[in-house]
Symmetry: C2
Subunit: 114 residues, 2 copies
């Protein structure tokens, strides 16, 4: 099944974040995303938009799926681009949920441009 159709599972912490091997296996589902290692490990992607309005429209669509799945990203909204960062705060790193949400984010962006 395409990962974008999967649902997030509740994550209350108390488990380790995904290790490098698991990240490598999952990233093939979302090859246009970057694994960014800072204080935590994030999945990040910058999307080009036409203007600020389109950036906000995209942010609002991401907000809707975030509320549905109970999992929220960091979104950096600008005129002409929007950056989305997914990670799981409670484990200070990546969970499979983040890959699912990244795939759903890509799917939303396609809808925005159709």
């Amino acid at each position: 099944m395409d990962i974008k159709f999967e649902k997030c599972v509740p994550c209350k912490g108390g488990i380790p974040p995904l290790d490098d091997k698991s990240i490598e296996e999952l990233i093939v589902n979302i090859p246009t995303w970057t694994v960014q290692r800072e204080q935590a490990t994030y999945l990040t992607k910058k999307f080009k938009t036409k203007n600020f309005k389109q950036s906000m429209n995209f942010a609002n669509l991401i907000f809707e799926i975030s509320e549905e799945e109970g999992h929220h990203p960091k979104i950096i909204v600008e005129f002409g681009n929007i950056e989305v960062l997914w990670w799981t705060h409670k484990i200070n790193g990546l969970h499979k949920n983040d890959f699912i949400m990244a795939a759903k984010t890509d799917d939303l962006f396609k809808q925005l441009n159709n």
Copy 2:
């Protein structure tokens, strides 16, 4: 007149950004904002919110005044906080417009919490 009631003037570039003396004079209108000097000089402020929904509500209010004034910020939306950065891209630094928009942003945040 309170700076928040002023309107932005069109800025097409070709003028220098505000110098330090002008910034010092204007920042007294928005004392809770920080002048951040990186690639450009920004006005920045982080607002605490209850959740992601309140962050998005605030972002959408900021979007409305941005479209009205024809001047757009960078907005970093997260669960529990939102950071707003104002600067004038065309002069790679600060214009009085940015101080006006920062004051209007503070005013919107008060409305959001009332």
